[in-house]
């Protein structure tokens, strides 16, 4: 069964739905009209571009083009993680890229090659959306891990220095904050798995069902993607924090002042 297309007049009707929240926000005195209009327009333009790219990508299905697209996604995710975590690019851009690339590619290819097994492992129809979903969630986890780790460390700098003076190595001294940060980063995906299907129907599963898949197929894909998200987020956070330690401290194991962006 094919999914029913939404014709352009119906799309206009859909945008009309935004009038209700816009009116409500205006009535309670929130002047958000500009933000709402810009966000809706941006969403439309960005998704139209992605739709165009994906259509081209799927029709060409060239391995190098697929790889390039994933590389672009990784680079954008890398920059976005550091910007949102408030950390300086020059210290963290490489460790973050290595961590998210390794973990995302590992989880995606594990899923595609060993589980889904399409005729070609580089099939854009599989690797591009799956890598995108895995990376998107991995991004959230890494923002939490980096932000939590470096802000907790800065806040507890005296305690960290005490550990060093008591004979701890740099790694031993940061370990309590490392554990807290990794736990904070992976907890949402653990909680999400435990409530899946009870609190909400997951987006990917809904999309597949609307796209004409059998509910059982959609359920299996959803389980697969959740396991991959959990695996890649955990791997990326553990690797990223560990690699970042090399650049963030001076030779005397003191956290460099300049690693964090000054928050406005």
């Amino acid at each position: 069964m094919d999914t029913l297309d939404i014709a352009l007049p119906q799309m206009a009707v859909l945008y009309g739905l935004c009038l209700a929240p816009w009116l409500l926000l205006w009535l309670i005195g929130l002047r958000l009209s500009r933000d709402i209009v810009i966000s809706i327009l941006r969403m439309g333009v960005q998704l139209a571009l992605v739709g165009f790219y994906l259509k081209t990508l799927f029709s060409l299905n060239e391995p190098w083009l697929n790889a390039l697209w994933i590389l672009v996604m990784l680079a954008v995710a890398d920059l976005s993680i550091l910007q949102r975590a408030g950390l300086k690019l020059r210290f963290f851009v490489l460790p973050t890229f290595i961590a998210i690339a390794l973990s995302t590619l590992f989880a995606t290819f594990y899923l595609v090659v060993l589980v889904i097994q399409p005729p070609h492992f580089y099939d854009a129809r599989y690797i591009v959306p799956l890598a995108g979903m895995i990376l998107g969630n991995c991004l959230q986890g890494n923002v939490i891990a980096l932000e939590r780790f470096y802000s907790t460390l800065r806040k507890n700098e005296q305690e960290y220095m005490t550990f060093l003076l008591l004979g701890a190595t740099r790694w031993e001294a940061v370990r309590p904050y490392y554990r807290v940060a990794v736990k904070a980063a992976v907890s949402p995906s653990i909680a999400s798995m435990s409530t899946m299907g009870l609190v909400s129907l997951p987006g990917m599963m809904t999309g597949q069902i609307l796209g004409g898949s059998e509910p059982w197929v959609a359920v299996k894909y959803q389980i697969a993607i959740m396991i991959c998200i959990f695996t890649s987020t955990t791997l990326a956070c553990v690797i990223n924090l560990k690699l970042s330690l090399r650049n963030a401290f001076n030779a005397y194991d003191v956290l460099k002042d300049e690693v964090m962006e000054l928050r406005k």
Binding site: E159, A168, E172, A251, V254
Partner: protein
């Protein structure tokens, strides 16, 4: 009348230190932070067993001297030598292994006092040397602390008790260089005497920051700082 920490010969006269090996040597140390000079051309030598005190007004750079030695504050000029080796990424590990730093409000880093005392023995450097309960109680008694404090929450004990617990931790680790920041400021007379007794040990070298006249009186040397400069160096009983 307080007696000096200094090494007492059998005759009761104070021995001098120049023959003892140098533990710390500051050579024209300068520290500038955001265009502000914190230390300016500081030079002094601290020898094995010596007890020195840095004094001066607030902001004169006393605490920075301690921080530079621990590698917590970078130098703008000059050099620091530890056991005649220049301070670098390798020697700093030796400094930290041998040094106990006890600040005005030490961080104990664990929930209970017992956990705080045992904390360093979780680290690879001290694993396998975990002290017994008897040893913990003995070192606490030495510092005039009751054994019952072991099970108290470390966040609920007083500042003076925290300082002595931190000192007890240094003693358990066998540290021989002590960097002390106002370590007697929050102590009653009896506890102070206990701390004085600990540092009467000639094997322990001390570089301290203090205003307490009794402490100053007991130290072998007083290094007076003014706006980051060493303005006066006095040796008790050596003049």
């Amino acid at each position: 009348m307080p007696t000096c920490f200094g090494m007492m010969a059998n005759s009761g006269t104070i021995m001098t230190y120049p023959t003892m090996p140098a533990i710390i040597r500051f050579d024209q140390v300068t520290v500038t932070v955001r265009d502000k000079t914190i230390l300016s051309g500081i030079s002094f030598t601290l020898r094995l067993g010596e007890k020195a005190v840095l004094c001066g007004k607030s902001g004169s750079g006393k605490s920075t001297v301690l921080k530079t030695l621990l590698g917590l504050q970078g130098l703008t000029g000059g050099s620091i030598f530890f056991q005649e080796k220049p301070l670098d990424a390798v020697t700093i590990q030796a400094v930290r292994r041998q040094t106990a730093y006890i600040g005005q409000e030490p961080v104990l880093g664990a929930d209970t006092v017992r956990d705080a005392l045992l904390l360093p023995f979780q680290f690879k450097a001290h694993r396998g040397h975990k002290p017994t309960d008897g040893q913990l109680k003995a070192v606490l008694a030495q510092l005039h602390l009751p054994a019952a404090i072991l099970d108290q929450e470390s966040g609920r004990i007083s500042g003076g008790e925290k300082q002595r617990v931190a000192l007890a931790r240094g003693l358990l680790l066998g540290k021989n260089l002590y960097l002390l920041d106002e370590v007697t400021s929050a102590l009653d007379s009896e506890s102070k005497q206990a701390v004085f007794a600990v540092f009467a040990d000639p094997k322990l070298t001390v570089l301290s920051v203090a205003h307490d006249p009794e402490w100053l009186e007991r130290c072998d040397r007083v290094l007076a700082l003014e706006e980051g400069r060493l303005t006066q160096e006095a040796c008790h009983g050596h003049a």
